[in-house]
């Protein structure tokens, strides 16, 4: 019987393991399906990680390396090349591997840290041929940075998420011609710094409010792509067609938390995040099962994944070592122009000084105010100079504000500053 089984050995799983160890658990297992721990950071060879966490700018492998060596200094066990098939509310974990076959492992607690996966061409239904040469940006990144394959020479990138932007620069550095980055929304889905250093540095045009309306093939490989401008309701505008000669299309059109295990265990899900509904300590609706990182909601910065996962690891330790109790909770509601919040529920008397609340806004704001209210009454406000859907926001809700809600649900909303 393990104290804690963590599913996924990426940044979330590693940070949760380390924190659970520091908080007193000793029988901890990480189950990882890849050949090595580190998760997606292993292919993110660019820098920009760790500025919050380590106060320096690291590459993905360096950031992962820090946590791998921290965990290496504990007694945490890491099982690689092992796939989890199923979990349940009795904390049983069904695993399979070539080396050990099929086994059922038992634990006192579980942390879900499976991360997310890329939205594919099928998920966004681009018309046209179905040739070779269409990749998700992340799989192209793995081919190039780890396996050593260049996936194309003349590239169009659909979507301006961070991975697409990073790949625009990466393909350019390796000698490809990136013809355009095409984004259906009127704003970029990626971080501003990536627009600057990945597109502007290399004179790659960014077409906002545009999309790919046709992909054509010659000899089974992408040969032409049609790009059109879209109107406010995202319908292509006739007469705005642009033709590109290219051999490759990279898709950077969003990430989906990978929650098959969570769903099949009957854990309550949030339709907005596609992740589990979580409490302030990252516990799901199933007692003793916690979730953290991109499997809960897609983060921009791994630093925040680590911080969130450390809270989940510490909470798992507390669950195992103390008697779990059933405290009353209040809900956190997403008000005007807020897409979602994490957590969705707060057990106020479990909050020490303040509760971390993460969210995304639905549109771009300049000078603005984030308002926390209960029963129509404003409890607290936070000022922001700039907010965008591509940049996750974070507020620290002081305990006294939560107490002031007096058991009523709270609402987080955003508006322009007066």
């Amino acid at each position: 019987m393990y104290d804690l089984i963590i599913i996924g050995g990426g940044p979330a799983g590693l940070a949760a393991a380390n924190s659970a160890w520091e908080n007193g658990l000793r029988k901890i297992l990480i189950v990882e399906r890849d050949r090595e721990p580190g998760g997606i950071l292993n292919q993110c060879i660019h820098n920009g990680f760790g500025l919050h966490r380590f106060k320096e700018e690291l590459t993905g492998p360096e950031y992962a390396g820090r946590f791998i060596s921290m965990v290496g200094n504990t007694g945490v066990e890491i099982m690689t090349d092992t796939m989890v098939l199923e979990i349940n509310k009795e904390h049983e974990v069904h695993v399979i591997s070539a080396a050990e076959g099929y086994r059922v492992l038992k634990a006192k607690s579980i942390v879900l840290a499976m991360g997310c996966r890329e939205r594919t061409r099928g998920a966004i239904a681009i018309p046209g041929d179905r040739p070779a040469g269409v990749f998700t940006a992340g799989s192209a990144q793995r081919y190039l940075n780890m396996e050593g394959y260049m996936v194309g020479k003349r590239v169009i990138i659909l979507g301006s998420g961070d991975i697409g932007l990073i790949m625009a620069r990466r393909m350019t550095l390796e000698g490809a011609r990136v013809l355009a980055c095409v984004e259906v929304m009127p704003y970029s889905g990626g971080l501003m710094r990536n627009i600057v250093q990945c597109l502007q540095d290399w004179n790659i045009p960014l077409y906002l409010s545009h999309t790919i309306t046709d992909i054509r093939a010659e000899n089974g490989r992408v040969s032409h792509v049609t790009v059109m401008r879209v109107d406010e309701s995202r319908n292509p505008v006739p007469g705005t067609e642009m033709e590109f000669d290219c051999d490759t299309v990279l898709l950077s059109v969003g990430l989906i938390p990978e929650n098959e295990l969570t769903r099949s265990a009957g854990i309550e899900m949030d339709p907005r995040t596609n992740g589990a509904v979580v409490y302030e300590n990252m516990e799901t609706s199933a007692p003793g099962i916690f979730a953290c990182g991109n499997v809960v909601h897609v983060h921009d910065l791994v630093d925040y994944v680590s911080a969130e996962s450390e809270r989940a690891g510490a909470a798992a330790a507390k669950y195992v070592l103390d008697n779990p109790c059933d405290d009353p909770f209040i809900s956190v509601r997403a008000g005007s122009d807020i897409g979602y919040t994490v957590p969705m529920k707060i057990r106020v008397n479990r909050v020490d000084k303040a509760a971390d609340v993460f969210f995304r806004v639905r549109r771009v704001f300049r000078s603005s105010v984030i308002e926390v209210s209960a029963n129509g009454e404003t409890l607290f406000t936070f000022k922001r100079d700039h907010m965008a859907p591509g940049e996750m926001e974070h507020i620290l809700l002081p305990r006294k504000v939560l107490d002031a809600a007096a058991g009523k649900d709270i609402t987080v909303s955003a508006r322009e500053a007066e």
Binding site: E62, G148, Q197
Partner: protein, 114 residues
């Protein structure tokens, strides 16, 4: 006055750089932002990250980076030089694979134990 977005960290501060006033930077929230704003107008630099060949490791490519920012104009030249580098496992993060690639002391180093 030039307007820039700071790329030192993911925060993306909106900077203003006053070229007529000793490249005075406003809008930054940390000293690194002020330095970036000045340099970006004066002589833009970037940290270069890429991969080199490696044999005997889990994967055939090993990630590397320049250990400090190098002039933007040199990036493609350094990429060409990296094509000739081939490592043999094991290597440790921090190992220097190319010295002084910018003529100003920047080295290319390994970023992963492989």
């Amino acid at each position: 006055m030039k307007e820039l977005v700071c790329i030192v960290c993911p925060r993306g501060c909106r900077l203003k750089v006053d070229e007529e006033n000793g490249y005075a930077v406003t809008g930054n929230t940390c000293p690194r932002g002020a330095e970036y704003g000045r340099n970006e107008i004066y002589s833009p630099t970037r940290v270069l990250t890429s991969t080199v060949r490696i044999s005997g490791a889990l994967y055939p490519r090993c990630p590397v980076k320049t250990d400090k920012a190098v002039p933007k104009a040199l990036l493609l030249e350094i990429m060409r030089v990296l094509n000739s580098v081939s490592l043999a496992s094991p290597v440790k993060a921090g190992t220097v694979v190319l010295e002084n690639v910018d003529g100003n002391g920047a080295n290319v180093i390994v970023t992963k134990d492989l």
